[in-house]
């Protein structure tokens, strides 16, 4: 295939139209939608409203509610281990607080708990920091400027979430936000600042004040690297166990938390970890590829915490809604689905269609922006790639027309580098985008101290639901994982004082299995998923081992 500047001839025909209208668009934005127009658009084009997106859950504490199909498939599946086979009288590991998941929520919980004197073990599926937190590019919100306030932040959050958010959780989010930023500064996070220390802040979709703090376009990475470094600096109080995902929560006879079952990914052994309190910080579910969408999420985002928590009786909230990020890469094929940060629209880039027309205000709340892109492509105004995928242009050269030469390389080094690898210079040519599966809006139900209906179980971060209602705004998730990670760390440290769990038990899992059998769920489905399966059908058809022989699989 002949490519010029990374694009095919057919694509260039459309790029030329974009170039032709560019100048006229510098000063003029497409108007924003009213709440009513937005609602109508969502109903018509957002994937949440697509027939068959959800189905009714038939087991457990949220039986009867509508949940995204792919999640129901996992909730209506059997445990990886036979609860009768594992010997719970022998423990492989003991700790006060067991933090499950090594992203932003887990790392902050571990640091806070350790600093309050608890002995902590943090277990994670991949490496510490291999997490969605590491990938967040755009920024983190906090109302810490003169013209802003926690109340204005509150209104933005709750409007963005379609007025369905759980108010106490939003209050915690906005009130703790400035403190979180100060904490990160103390840890050494390099925020983008003016010479006098004033934070350089931008708008994000749905914000009424410029409160998006950033660290170039590696905001989450910068935060995660500092947090990881700090966790590693506490060897006396924090024990780190990598490649050891949890697969089941353990309770005691009274239903209190007593630990978890871990899976050693390398030796494939299951281990018993005893703990007085457990914090779930396992993140989201992008790797379930809801409705077949590609995803921005890391390799381990498979909803494990959701499954384990649900089996233990914690309810689900907002699991019928999913966040699709409006701008995932649609081209080149190697990076399809990967994120094009919203910050790039905050800085002046805008979506335009195949003939170079504006069609949406660039910073609508995410669901509305995404639905607008889907509408363009569904009504013949999209651009087709050589693999037949459709997308619209995100006109990046506008940024430097507005902010001056060099603004892209300085503000978006990750984005610039990624495209240059494929010969695309985003300072000169636009990039092709289409919505991609991004965020689990809902999750396990929590209170504002991250406690759940299971004594001793705390849940923080993307695995929990309610903070963002039916739609999360950019920058509020990074904020949420830190706010609630800290809160979980604090609450768990309080809880363990004077509590001793009794005998370890998997009674709750047995009960759940019984429910599954009662509705005749096929026995061959297991969960949690742990890692997505990208093995091709052709390979699988040749993997014919009938039984395990020794350790050779």
């Amino acid at each position: 295939m002949d490519l010029k500047g990374g694009y095919t001839n057919e694509m260039w025909q459309s790029i030329e139209k974009v170039e032709a209208t560019r100048k006229s668009r510098v000063e003029k934005l497409h108007p924003a939608m009213s709440l009513e127009e937005g609602d109508a658009l969502l109903k018509k084009y957002h994937p949440d409203y697509k027939e068959g997106n959800t189905r009714e859950l038939r087991v457990g504490s949220s039986k009867g509610t509508s949940v995204v199909q792919e999640v129901v498939d996992l909730l209506e599946a059997y445990p990886r281990i036979d609860p009768d086979k594992i010997d719970l009288t022998k423990t492989d590991l003991e700790t006060d607080i067991l933090v499950i998941g090594g992203g932003g929520a887990g790392a902050s919980a571990a640091i806070i708990a350790a600093e309050s004197g608890a002995s902590v073990t943090i277990v994670t599926k991949l490496r510490l920091g291999d997490a969605n937190t590491m990938m967040a590019q755009g920024g983190i919100q906090a109302a810490d400027k003169e013209n802003d306030s926690p109340a204005i932040h509150y209104l933005d959050v709750i409007g963005g979430g379609h007025f369905r958010n759980i108010p106490e959780l939003v209050k915690a989010l906005v009130m703790d936000a400035p403190g979180v930023i100060g904490w990160l500064e103390d840890l050494g996070v390099m925020f983008d600042k003016e010479k006098d220390g004033t934070m350089i802040t931008l708008h994000g979709g749905g914000t009424s004040r410029k409160r998006m703090h950033s660290a170039r376009d590696y905001t989450g990475g910068e935060i995660m690297k500092c947090l990881r470094d700090e966790v590693q600096n506490h060897p006396d109080s924090i024990n780190i166990l990598e490649f050891s995902p949890a697969v089941e929560l353990l309770l005691d006879e009274d239903g209190k938390v007593s630990g978890a079952i871990l899976f050693n990914l390398e030796t494939e052994e299951y281990l018993v970890a005893r703990a007085t309190s457990v914090i779930f910080s396992t993140g989201g579910f992008g790797r379930l590829h809801i409705q077949g969408f590609p995803t921005t999420n890391h390799y381990g985002a498979t909803a494990d915490g959701l499954i384990m928590g649900y089996r233990a009786g914690v309810k689900l909230v907002f699991m019928d809604t999913v966040q699709y990020h409006p701008t995932g890469a649609a081209y080149p094929e190697q990076i399809v689905g990967q994120l094009v940060t919203e910050k790039i629209r905050g800085a002046g880039a805008e979506p335009v269609n195949v003939i170079g027309e504006q069609f949406v205000y660039p910073l609508e709340p995410r669901d509305i922006e995404a639905a607008s892109l889907i509408r363009e492509c569904a009504t013949g105004k999209g651009v087709e790639t050589p693999t037949g995928m459709k997308g619209v242009w995100l006109d990046t050269p506008l940024i430097e027309m507005k902010a001056g030469k060099g603004a892209i390389e300085k503000g978006f080094p990750a984005m610039f580098r990624q495209n240059m690898r494929f010969g695309i210079n985003i300072t000169e040519t636009p990039i092709l985008v289409y919505p991609t599966l991004h965020y689990q809006n809902g999750g396990l139900e929590i209170s504002d101290d991250c406690s759940t209906t299971v004594p001793g179980l705390y849940v923080a971060g993307e695995v929990s639901g309610g903070v963002h209602g039916r739609n999360r705004l950019m920058g509020n998730s990074l904020l949420g994982v830190l706010v609630f990670g800290q809160r979980a760390g604090r609450a768990a440290t309080e809880y363990i004082k004077g509590v001793t769990p009794g005998k370890l038990s998997l009674k709750h899992v047995k009960k759940y299995v019984k429910e599954l059998r009662e509705i005749d769920i096929a026995e061959d489905k297991v969960a949690p998923m742990v890692l997505p399966d990208y093995t091709r059908k052709e390979t699988k058809e040749k993997q014919l081992t009938t039984q395990y022989l020794g350790t050779l699989r």
Partner: protein, 225 residues
């Protein structure tokens, strides 16, 4: 052979894979289930460091498996773990000075300026420059240059002086961020206000509103230009 297929050698074993795959997806296409060696799959975490050589070329190259397209005749192996040295410290007890590095990472000062690290870096960071900046006690410059480091370990694996550049670099950035970057005064001020109990009333008032009233307020918001 089909035009769109290339031959790659995963740890020496030949596989035919579509040419439009990355090293990571090509390994999966070939039938590997990756456990170590993949994290973000988007170029942000450094889990997928890979070394490779092209046919009839002596040069050992290094890159990220998730961001690099396969090429015909690629001999590759992943580097899923780097057994690198890392210092332990209490960041609150340090100062942003070269003395900290002399104590915690003395090998940094043995850099022979061979530039091998820079050539190995998949992020195109001028690694040698930041090492040299640390030696000169230019903490700000070292922090700035190393900012995009994703801690993949490839530089350290090639360094003849056995410096663990990326661990040195996270320390330099934390020192800069904590001690040298100007503090954000408006953040400090807002934290003080919150500690005094301010803003609670305003937020609680919103919490008490009906959905209808909230919607009105939401629509009435003024947007900062």
């Amino acid at each position: 052979m089909d035009d769109n297929m290339v031959r790659i050698y995963i740890m020496g074993k030949e596989y035919r894979v579509p040419s439009n795959l990355t090293i990571l997806t090509a390994m999966e296409y070939a039938g590997y289930q990756v456990k170590r060696g993949a994290g973000c799959r988007e170029g942000f975490c450094g889990a997928c460091a890979t070394v490779y050589r092209l046919e009839d070329d002596y040069k050992l190259r290094a890159d990220l498996a998730c961001q690099t397209k396969v090429e015909d005749g690629m001999f590759l192996a992943q580097l899923p773990f780097v057994p690198a040295q890392r210092a332990r410290y209490d960041i609150d007890q340090l100062s942003p000075t070269v003395g900290v590095f002399q104590r915690l990472y003395p090998e940094t000062f043995k850099c022979v300026s061979c530039n091998t690290c820079t050539k190995a870096c998949p992020q195109d960071i001028n690694v040698m420059d930041y090492v040299q900046a640390i030696i000169r006690e230019d903490i700000e410059r070292a922090a700035d240059i190393s900012f995009d480091c994703i801690m993949c370990g490839l530089c350290a694996m090639r360094c003849p002086a056995e410096i663990v550049q990326y661990n040195v670099a996270i320390l330099v950035r934390r020192l800069y961020g904590k001690y040298l970057a100007p503090r954000s005064l408006h953040t400090e001020k807002r934290i003080e206000e919150l500690n005094k109990g301010m803003w609670k009333k305003e937020v609680e008032e919103l919490m008490s509103l009906s959905e209808e009233e909230l919607k009105k307020r939401y629509k009435k918001r003024e947007k900062e230009a």
